[in-house]
């Protein structure tokens, strides 16, 4: 009766258990294999990055860091893995501490935290592991085993503002940020200042998605902006910014008589702007996260880890910039002119809106 039923359940459980156990033994072979492999390679310097919630395919901030790390690996003949370079993705804020600790326990030589959101977690973990080297991007941690990398995002955003004000036809410009924070405020402040520098009468419409990982809401905000007459949107929103591109592309594919533009962020987003009959990426502000990751990894590899230091990357240092994208020659000249002014210190770009 019911017993038979139970027995069949039990039997199934046993069988599946046995199969798993059998596979388990075969797996222990492979793991000893990899251990053997690792002992043969003599140079063991390895780096790892812990992403914020955007992930390495956000086509922007995290991705550019990951590309820098991949480039570093290629340069130094490293392979992706615990012996070379690797990324750990965080899906939630509570995973930062876990991921940072996993990185420490996996014995990586250098641990990158990509983004200001990791500051609290990294402060704790770096305090508990004083022999481990860390790097925080976009924020500052004062500790001898942490190097801090800051970018003058407002300077690049200022140039984006200049380009937008010079290129707009409708005279209306929008800004879509990811999450309100010191870093994204820098983008906003610089961009608005750039627009005002050229056309003081334009009021930049500013909206925040509230997340770096919500492309759907980014798309909604972009739809509202474009339908209100705005023709250029600068997005500093990580993965959420992909929604802005997607909305602009949908609109342009439906009707390309009225030009709409997106200004990309953090890496050259020209490819993101391709639509059926053209390209709608006006330009992209560059943030040399990848270059910074590569430089610092190389220096640490050579034994010169910049622990306790704060490295500042601005226009003058070539750490941030604006791509030419689809700017007209006239606008390009204007941008170059203002770039020089910022580098010379003639213009002080504000950091806060």
């Amino acid at each position: 009766m019911k017993k038979r039923n139970l027995m069949s359940l039990l039997a199934l459980g046993l069988i599946s258990g046995a199969t798993l156990a059998a596979c388990g033994s075969s797996d222990s072979d492979t793991s000893s294999d990899s251990a053997a492999k690792s002992s043969t390679s003599d140079d063991k310097f390895s780096v790892v990055m812990v992403t914020d919630v955007g992930g390495v395919d956000d086509k922007s901030f995290n991705q550019s860091a990951w590309e820098g790390m991949q480039a570093w690996g290629e340069e130094n003949n490293k392979e992706e893995g615990t012996e070379g370079f690797k990324y750990l993705q965080s899906n939630e804020d509570s995973e930062f501490v876990t991921n940072l600790n996993s990185a420490v326990q996996a014995k990586f030589d250098l641990v990158f935290g990509i983004g200001y959101k990791l500051k609290e977690a990294m402060t704790d973990v770096s305090g508990q592991n004083e022999d481990q080297h860390f790097v925080i991007i976009d924020d500052m941690i004062e500790s001898p085993n942490v190097a801090s990398v800051l970018f003058k995002d407002h300077e690049a955003a200022f140039l984006a503002g200049v380009a937008a004000a010079e290129s707009t036809e409708s005279g209306q410009i929008g800004f879509i940020g990811g999450q309100e924070s010191d870093v994204i405020s820098r983008f906003e402040a610089g961009f608005v200042a750039g627009v005002k520098e050229i056309k003081p009468e334009i009021d930049v419409k500013v909206e925040y998605v509230g997340s770096f990982g919500d492309a759907a809401r980014g798309k909604q905000l972009a739809a509202a902006m474009y339908s209100s007459g705005i023709d250029i949107i600068y997005q500093a929103a990580g993965d959420s910014g992909n929604g802005v591109f997607s909305e602009a592309k949908d609109l342009m594919n439906a009707d390309d008589s009225k030009k709409l533009w997106v200004i990309g962020v953090d890496r050259d987003q020209n490819d993101e702007g391709k639509f059926d009959t053209g390209n709608l990426t006006l330009a992209s502000t560059l943030k040399g996260v990848g270059a910074a990751v590569k430089d610092i990894s190389n220096e640490a590899l050579a034994g010169n880890f910049a622990g306790g230091e704060v490295v500042n990357y601005g226009l003058a240092e070539g750490g941030v910039d604006l791509t030419d994208g689809n700017l007209t020659d006239e606008v390009k000249e204007k941008v170059a002119e203002y770039k020089q002014k910022v580098i010379d210190g003639e213009i002080e770009v504000p950091q806060k809106p």
Partner: protein, 354 residues
């Protein structure tokens, strides 16, 4: 016969977990990854060292609270989807209180902050309970909407009241923290905090309340048959509100665990906190039984924390890990289906023999 159904109660969740793991293995195979290496990495990453055990327990802590909260309302016949929002407000107000009164000595501050968190959750759930009791609105819709209200209210308060347009608040006073040094030392600096003991205590308290007290009996009676219990002289309205208040206060405590333990602050949230919905799944897998909830919360903690190690150790990409975890949760959610199959087979067998 009674023993029999008890055995079934254990078998069904266990079976759904096994099926979920098998489906997850299949998915890893299809994507070309070694499922055994994957699961090995997961187990290692959840229980492999004292650090990971600490993290797993820490992950399970708020889930125990939210699951207990959900199960109390569920027993009374309500589907409190709002545990997420109630937890968020519990988190917010416990941190807010701790930040506002740093002069109160540590342990007392901690105690009051937790109560404030529980009250915040209770009041938020109470709205839905009140509307349900007096206007017969659907608690599902009301609590879903209240989740969003809680999310945006919390984000606004964090940005404009609790900080100067920053996205995180300051940390709570050290003394009020649930993170006890000896727990961190014991687990090689994991974020495990004293909340786990509170969670265990609350599981016992909820069990005693539901099984051994009159109030608990009334809640169960209302859940089983509101008309009969009304006929027996119980106030349905009162029980609806009481069960929602208890549910909300437990959820609020779950949120306070994040604030006073895991993070020691609160930051602008990109979405509704996952401890709410995970808590619902935990409660359903644990069949609303406090002991079952403890085990299923542990399982969820292990999945989440262990899953983090899979990309690092077994090269299974994060996306596939998420699918694997989701497939396990899917079967957990579908345990009614498994129960149905088991019951049907049992009936068939009975008929066959006779």
């Amino acid at each position: 016969m009674n023993n029999k159904s008890k055995l079934d109660n254990i078998l069904v969740p266990v079976f759904s977990v096994i099926l979920g793991l098998l489906l997850g293995a299949l998915i890893m195979l299809v994507f070309g990854y070694n499922p055994v290496a994957g699961y090995q990495a997961m187990v290692q990453g959840a229980f492999g060292s004292s650090f990971y055990i600490g993290e797993t327990l820490r992950q399970a802590t708020p889930l125990i609270f939210t699951a207990l909260g959900f199960s109390v309302a569920y027993t009374a016949g309500f589907f409190n989807i709002g545990v997420a929002g109630q937890a968020l407000l519990g988190w917010l107000f416990s941190v807010w209180f701790a930040l506002s009164f740093p002069e109160i000595p540590g342990i007392i501050l901690l105690f009051i902050s937790l109560i404030v968190g529980a009250l915040a959750g209770a009041l938020w759930a109470g709205i839905a309970g009140f509307l349900r009791a007096y206007f017969n609105t659907s608690e599902v819709i009301v609590t879903i909407m209240l989740n969003y209200t809680a999310l945006y209210t919390a984000n606004y308060l964090i940005r404009n009241v609790l900080s100067e347009s920053s996205d995180t608040t300051a940390r709570i006073p050290e003394g009020a923290s649930l993170r006890w040094a000896w727990l961190s030392d014991l687990t090689s600096n994991s974020t495990l905090h004293g909340g786990i003991f509170l969670a265990l205590i609350m599981a016992v308290v909820v069990w005693i309340f539901m099984k051994k007290t009159t109030a608990g009996f009334e809640i169960r009676a209302v859940g089983l048959n509101p008309f009969a219990s009304k006929y027996a002289g119980m106030s349905t309205k009162r029980n609806i509100i009481i069960s929602m208040l208890i549910s909300g206060s437990l959820a609020g405590l779950g949120g306070a665990m994040e604030g006073m333990g895991t993070f020691q602050n609160i930051f602008v949230q990109g979405g509704i906190p996952s401890i709410g919905f995970d808590g619902i799944a935990v409660a359903l897998l644990g069949l609303g039984n406090p002991v079952g909830i403890l085990f299923s919360a542990l399982l969820f903690g292990a999945l989440k924390i262990g899953g983090n190690s899979m990309p690092l150790v077994a090269d299974v990409p994060t996306e596939v890990v998420d699918i694997v975890i989701a497939s396990i949760i899917f079967f957990v959610g579908a345990n009614y289906l498994i129960r149905m199959v088991v019951d049907k087979r049992a009936k068939l067998n009975k008929g066959g023999v006779k």
